[in-house]
């Protein structure tokens, strides 16, 4: 849940001046996504029945990129789309109403498919819990797998990723930010920490 995970650390960051460092640059991100794409193919023995769904906002761009790489490697078309989880969040009553993001399920649907959920940062695991509920209302996949660009730990639910771009041990005071060319102009994963917090 990107906004939730960021809010707690943002508050901490505003009390003391923050330092920011780049964890992954554009080339690293491309390499990570290429490796993830190959791992997905290896695990599923090809691209048959694969559907790649990104969780808005940044997971969607990542999903399209992974689908494009897989399509190139296999010389086939892999359907990709987006799955909005706003209405399935468990913190709706704690915050002002959020604007919904688009849900775009590929025409083949998800019934009987191997759905790979893609998100930028795996943190508490609550976003993924919501995504599993949302996916269950769209159809019945044969299997669901999870790919994330960054796993920063601190899980609050029994959830783990099948494919990880980078494991990034963090403190709860730190803030992980993913920038992608589609939204932010360039690709980078940044980590900012409050001074003195380590």
């Amino acid at each position: 849940m990107p906004p939730a995970q960021r809010s707690s650390s943002t508050q901490a960051a505003t009390t003391t001046p923050a330092t920011t460092r780049v964890v992954l640059d554009a080339a690293d991100i491309t390499r990570a996504l290429t490796r993830i794409s190959h791992e997905i193919l290896e695990r599923n023995k090809g691209s048959a029945d694969l559907v790649i769904l990104g969780i808005p906002t940044r997971g969607v761009a990542l999903a399209h990129r992974v689908a494009a790489v897989i399509g190139q490697v296999e010389d086939s078309h892999v359907p990709s789309g987006s799955l909005d989880i706003t209405m399935y969040r468990d913190d709706l009553r704690l915050r002002p109403a959020r604007t919904l993001e688009p849900t775009e399920i590929p025409a083949r649907g998800v019934d009987g498919a191997v759905v790979v959920l893609v998100d930028d940062v795996l943190f508490s695991g609550r976003t993924v819990r919501a995504a599993l509920d949302a996916l269950g209302d769209v159809g019945r996949p044969k299997a669901v797998q999870l790919a994330v660009l960054v796993d920063r730990g601190h899980r609050q639910l029994p959830i783990r990723a099948d494919f990880v771009g980078k494991n990034l041990p963090t403190s709860l005071l730190e803030r992980v930010q993913v920038s992608l060319a589609e939204y932010d102009g360039d690709d980078a994963v940044l980590i900012s920490s409050a001074d003195g917090a380590g």
């Binding site: 915050r95 002002p96 109403a97 919904l100 509920d133």
Partner: protein, 307 residues
Amino acid sequence: MQRHLLSTADLTRDDAVQILDTAEELRSLADRPIKKLPTLRGRTVVNLFFEDSTRTRISFEAAAKRLSADVINFSAKGSSVSKGESLKDTALTLEAMGADAVVIRHGSSGAPHRLATSGWVRSSVVNAGDGTHEHPTQALLDAFTLRRHLGELDGRRVTIVGDVLHSRVARSNALLLSTLGAEVTLVAPPTLLPVGVSSWPVQTSYDLDASLDKCDAVMMLRVQSERMNDAFFPSAREYSRRYGLDDRRFARLPEHAIVMHPGPMNRGMEISADVADHARSVIVEQVTNGVAVRMAVLYLLLSREPA
């Protein structure tokens, strides 16, 4: 968004656009195998209907149920209201039952406002039509339908025809559509335009034929004979001839223009049967869109920080 939805005059352009954008995402739910979201699980929505209604009550009920809220339907007939219970006592009963939202339709203009501001209830109040005042969710679903067919509403011309005097739909639409940038023209016989219409952000006309050529949408209002204790026009036939949308007038509309009606229709009176069933009539679609728009309203009012 404020805590209540009482009038489209309270909505800023951003509020209105947020509701319409949210409804746009929720509309796709109608095409899914499971038409339900868990968002308002454990919340209670009370439909408090002091006046007869089919589509609005069913629409609100469907919207609340698709968001997993519990729905309690309350209609004045067969309730303690027919024994003389006041609005206040009814409201206190609902409060005691823990309603999170009250959807109210009432024959008296201002009843929802009274309910929302009196301190009788803590819940959100949604106006589902009060007297001859407002019907904001109808205007929102009309704006939603217009936007789907015409794109952004800036500079679009919408002509609203008929019994403006008794129409809460006309007032809500006039305010909302001009907030969204559309140019609204009200066409009605002089006897069916309300006093003070000159202060509305609209143009008025007594001549339907003059405004047909350049409008992007025409919205026909129902002639509300149940509210007419006076003679507002000489005969139904004369009204129909001067202000009814028949095939001849329909043919003069621009190619892209759509025909709307909030329902229920008097076929042959304000709209001919052929026009009502034409491909460019979006009257049935308006009903479908109503559920999505009301879901958006309930979601935005109820998923919020506790007060």
